[in-house]
Symmetry: C2
Subunit: 145 residues, 2 copies
């Protein structure tokens, strides 16, 4: 029990907040919406069980992640956190594609420079491979053109 | 009710599976673990409420996302789906950093090529900026060296 007020959970559930209340450290009375949302999505009894099954030092993180998940479900009742996961996975695919393109482009330039060094002569910028690299880097840096 | 068997939910809850059972289309009897896990994490009553609040055409996606979230919570009882979100966000930060490096590198090469074109002469590969670009692309392509 935090101070003289019952914790947010006991207040919502209208029960006495015991000294060893499992919710009290993670759901203080000043922040009632945190418990209200996990109660709505997971149910107080399930949250209680999930916290009980964990060692004390992991319970704060578990309570925070349950609040995050419950808020995600409130914002997106169809996909919840899974909608965020899907969005992030798409972003990763796009970044990987852009990076693969940049790697190919840099490899192309590197090979060209190595060949020039091996021949101990200067690079003719009108050489076909130089032009390819220049065009590709232009397309990478200005994808809209 | 799917065929003559009660759905996985009604079987677990030991109740009659009505013709219009809200769970039956998403929790068939052949796949009992799907309902068992959402029941353990969210509770049958909350799942029922969450499905009821959605239009019928969105319920299958909602049921799937609840199963996904519940499985994530089973695998990682502390962080659940939030652990996956955190992992993906780290991956995005790393990719963005690599991409920013590649963009800077390509911009450097592009500027060098444009300057050479403007001067209408060939690039000396021993010129300081060429060497910087070559070194940077080497570091980008072989980050361990």
């Amino acid at each position: 029990m935090a101070g003289s007020s019952p914790c947010a959970s006991c207040k919502l559930l209208r029960r006495r907040c015991a000294k060893d209340c499992i919710f009290a450290p993670y759901f203080p009375p000043e922040d009632p919406h945190k418990f209200a949302i996990v109660h709505k999505v997971f149910g107080a009894s399930n949250v209680n069980k999930m916290l009980q099954e964990l060692p004390v030092h992991q319970r704060a993180d578990a309570a925070s992640s349950l609040v995050y998940e419950a808020n995600a479900r409130k914002r997106d009742p169809v996909y919840g956190s899974v909608g965020i996961i899907s969005y992030l996975q798409n972003q990763i695919s796009q970044l990987q594609m852009q990076l693969a393109f940049a790697e190919a482009e840099l490899l192309c330039i590197q090979m060209q420079q190595e060949r020039a060094l091996a021949n101990q002569h200067v690079i003719d910028i009108h050489e076909p491979s130089s032009l390819f690299c220049a065009t590709a880097s232009q397309a990478f840096l200005n994808p809209s053109t």
